[in-house]
């Protein structure tokens, strides 16, 4: 089986695994990917991409119901949820096929099956209970991803209580929906269903929605969601879920009071856990902490020659973080110069609810907690010409600088197009710019991006347009 000897075996073909494989191939390493289900992983098949396809439809629905403000009128605006889902699935399928093509082009062999560590430098591939290949490699990268976290007693049944998987392929639009958890996944589904017309209630155990975002952004988002007719319950906990003839009855405890809410469907979005089971970690030095594999800054586990990247190693659970870890891991293996460990504070995060939310780096509070003296800038979309022209004045940009060094510590945005705009701050942070370069950067007019400039100007007392 000499043809099954590789430099690198990657277990998992998601955005971590397949990007690592392509980078490895570029560096001349003989590489293979073992994938049990779909190339592209959750991101491409059941996450980032198909949800964006769905959210595009809810955005269009919003626009169509707002035609009057642009001088248009239309009657009998309807949609077919089946077609909306179909479109989403075909987008996912198209891109998954694309990944297959890319791997082939880079001469990365793909093994269809379940990969499991089997001793030093060995990976066994199993399909339908049968061993299909024994792979040997100097380097094994675990990129097995993660899955929805389940709360005891509140397990999803796949029928009325959904995880993101079922929520992505509804057969009909539920009239009422309870979303448990207000992280990115929770609010994206809440947004999608609310904008298509469902009555949506979001329950968050912490004191605000989107709790990882800057507090001001959370409050801004909460106002916007409530204006759209969403019901938000923060500092609240779902105690029980009971399925009955009329739907699911949730017992929700908030501020010491218990209320019952009956809905057609429930989406559980309470975080994710790493896929660390049945991949042959037993008896190895690979350490697992609270459902995630422990790695060092070069993605090395405790076991020599075994690496781990992406969601299986823990937050932030983001596809682009997984891809980047894959590249770092491979470049370190290949001995590329100038490889630097991943700096989490330079990883942007995007949430595609309506309005969109995007951020990079430290929140104002986190910056203060880290001991920084901060300078904070803010700028509302209402002061931006392009946003007014587009009819998208709901939004703001907040920037956080270190008062002593001018380091851009964090940027927090909410509003139209911010998920595209955040890269500007991402580049700025990666290049370690200070306020000085940002102040001197010429922003094109008229663009919503000008709010990014104004926010920096505001931090230094130089706002022009507000």
């Amino acid at each position: 089986m000499s043809e099954n000897k590789f430099d690198v075996v990657i277990v998992g073909g998601g955005p971590g695994g397949y990007v690592a494989a392509i980078r490895a191939a570029q560096l001349g390493l003989k590489t293979t990917v073992v994938e049990a289900k779909h190339l592209g992983g959750i991101c491409l098949n059941w996450g980032c991409i198909p949800t964006k396809a769905l959210l595009r439809c809810s955005e269009i629905n919003n626009l169509l119901h707002n035609l009057d403000s642009f001088g248009f009128s239309a009657e009998n605006i309807t949609f077919d949820i089946t077609k909306v889902v179909q479109r989403s699935r075909s987008v996912a399928n198209q891109l998954s096929g694309g990944v297959q093509h890319l791997l082939k082009k880079n001469k990365v062999e793909v093994f269809d099956g379940w990969g499991r560590l089997g001793g030093a430098g060995k990976v066994a591939v199993e399909k339908d209970g049968k061993l299909v290949a024994d792979l040997e490699a100097k380097h094994v990268i675990l990129a097995t991803g993660a899955r929805a976290r389940e709360l005891p007693g509140l397990e999803a049944d796949g029928k009325r209580v959904w995880t993101y998987m079922e929520a992505m392929v509804p057969e009909s639009l539920p009239a009422s929906l309870l979303v448990v958890g207000s992280g990115a996944i929770g609010v994206e589904f809440a947004s999608f269903y609310r904008n298509l017309g469902s009555e949506v209630t979001v329950v968050e155990v912490l004191d605000r929605v989107l709790p990882v975002e800057d507090e001001e952004i959370s409050l801004f988002a909460a106002k916007a969601f409530e204006k759209q007719g969403m019901t938000l319950m923060t500092s609240a906990q779902v105690k029980t879920l009971k399925s009955g003839p009329k739907g699911v009855t949730a017992t929700i405890e908030a501020a010491g009071k218990t209320t019952d809410l009956t809905v057609e469907r429930v989406i559980m979005a309470v975080g994710i856990v790493g896929n660390v089971e049945d991949i042959g970690l037993e008896g190895t030095k690979v350490a697992v902490d609270r459902g995630h594999i422990v790695i060092n800054e070069w993605c090395e586990t405790g076991e020599t020659g075994v690496y781990a990247i992406g969601d299986v190693v823990g937050p932030p659970w983001l596809a682009h973080k997984a891809s980047h870890e894959g590249v770092i891991c491979i470049e370190k293996i290949a001995g590329v110069n100038d490889v630097r460990p991943l700096d989490i504070s330079n990883i942007p995060g995007c949430t595609y609810c309506h309005p969109q939310v995007a951020s990079v780096g430290l929140t104002e509070q986190a910056a203060k907690d880290a001991g920084h003296k901060v300078k904070v800038g803010r700028f509302p979309f209402a002061g931006n010409g392009k946003a007014v022209a587009m009819g998208d004045t709901e939004g703001m940009v907040k920037t956080v600088f270190d008062a002593d060094t001018g380091e851009l510590l964090g940027a927090h945005m909410i509003g139209a197009e911010v998920t595209e705009m955040i890269q500007g701050y991402g580049i700025a942070k990666t290049l370690e710019t200070t306020e000085s370069e940002l102040l001197q950067t010429v922003f094109a007019h008229p663009t919503i991006s000008e709010t990014m400039h104004e926010s920096v100007l505001n931090a230094y007392g130089r706002t022009i347009h507000y």
Binding site: D338, R340, D404, T405, E407, E432, T433, T434, S436, E437
Partner: protein, 413 residues
């Protein structure tokens, strides 16, 4: 015509110094009187002011450069209307100039250069003009920390200096990573390059021990009365707090007036005997020590001495003493009593002839007239330069000092 900024001599004996910091960057406008750079000498940091105005054309000596010779060209200023071509010839001249002679009298600050060659040099050396790749944040942090970017190694893409590099350098000032033992069997070590102060300490004290025939005299002083008077004086007001050391300074000065033969310095031309007692006091500062001076201490009251010492110590720790504040004393005092040291012998601080090493006052058994008693005793050791002060003179001085310390009221006489 371009203007050269030369390394100034901050004291008559200065031959070289460290360019600690640039306050102006290439391209900055400079007005007469502007602070353009900071020079770190043996013991202090001094600001260099511009005499002439202009625009900084090129900086030739990077921040943090050690052992910059007096009169070496630090930077070239362009006058109004001059462009870079004038700069190239001036810089070429600078590169070709003979090694500066540190013995010639140095300007106090920037000086107008002789006429620069009018024809452009054929090959303008890129001396120190090479670009340093560093992130904007790294530049800002390095400037804030007074670090020279040129001395840092970049770990970013293509060797670019990034925040982490500056932070690492700032956390371990002038420290290189653990060096490999150079001799077989030598333990691993961390090599810390010398600061200007460390070099000065090494040079002066080696010179002292190698050229000065030291001898040592030790005496015990009972200080119960001195402590009582100190307590009483400090109890009168909150506006001052006199320390034992302040009183020792005062008494050393008074004793020098009583025994002027000990207030001396050796020189090749002859023995110097001073008229006033300028007491240099050793002060520990980060990275070494410095000896600020209480001038004419014999004529100053305890309160004045105490307040002056507080000011000098504070500024010494910040590296803000002017050279005249720490050079030219006539006698030194080094007190390690606060560390519980019972007695020690200090190295003479040249060109002075004597240094008094003061130990901790502690309760000890004393025999007076055949009876055993307890007294607070402080042991003092005088290190003496035998070339100018003989044993008998040293002993006479210590006896005078002991008498003052043990009956402080005699200061009133």
């Amino acid at each position: 015509m371009t203007i050269e900024i030369l390394m100034p001599a901050l004291s008559p004996t200065m031959t070289e110094g460290t360019l600690a910091k640039w306050h102006k960057a290439e391209g900055d406008e400079v007005a007469p009187g502007d602070v353009i750079a900071e020079i770190e000498t043996d013991k202090a940091t001094m600001e260099v002011e511009a005499v002439d105005g202009g625009r900084v054309g090129r900086i030739l000596v990077a921040e943090g450069t050690d052992e910059v010779k007096v009169n070496q060209i630090l930077a070239v200023l362009l006058e109004d209307g001059e462009d870079a071509s004038a700069l190239e010839s001036a810089v070429a001249d600078a590169a070709n100039a003979p090694a500066p002679n540190a013995e010639t009298p140095a300007p106090t600050a920037a000086k107008t250069a002789p006429a620069a060659a009018t024809e452009p040099a054929k090959v303008a050396p890129q001396r120190d003009g090479t670009r340093i790749f560093a992130s904007p944040l790294a530049r800002r942090l390095a400037a804030n920390a007074g670090l020279d970017l040129g001395s840092l190694r970049g770990s970013g893409p293509r060797g670019r200096i990034v925040k982490a590099d500056v932070e690492a350098a700032a956390a371990l000032p002038a420290t290189t990573p653990t060096a490999q033992p150079s001799t077989p069997g030598e333990a691993e070590f961390e090599l810390i390059p010398h600061t200007a102060m460390r070099r000065a300490i090494a040079r002066r004290l080696t010179q002292s021990k190698q050229t000065i025939p030291h001898f040592y005299l030790t005496i015990d002083c009972q200080i119960d009365q001195l402590l009582e008077i100190r307590r009483e004086l400090n109890g009168r007001s909150d506006e001052y707090k006199i320390s034992v050391n302040d009183m020792v300074i005062k008494m050393c000065a008074q004793a020098l007036i009583e025994v002027p033969a000990a207030n001396a310095a050796w020189s090749e031309e002859g023995a110097k005997f001073f008229n006033s007692a300028d007491i240099a006091v050793a002060v520990a500062v980060p990275g070494g020590l410095i000896t600020p001076i209480i001038r004419g201490a014999e004529a100053k009251g305890l309160r004045a001495i105490s307040n002056e010492m507080k000011d000098l110590v504070g500024r010494a720790r910040e590296g803000k003493l002017a050279p005249e504040e720490y050079t030219g004393g006539t006698f030194s005092v080094s007190n390690l009593g606060m560390y519980g040291i019972r007695e020690f012998a200090a190295v003479i601080n040249p060109p002075q002839a004597c240094i008094l090493a003061v130990g901790a006052g502690s309760q000890r058994p004393v025999v007076t007239d055949g009876a055993l008693g307890v007294a607070t005793v402080m042991t003092c050791t005088l290190s003496v330069d035998h070339r100018v002060v003989d044993g008998a003179v040293g002993a006479e001085y210590l006896a005078a000092l002991k008498s003052l310390i043990e009956s402080p009221l005699s200061l009133m006489l």
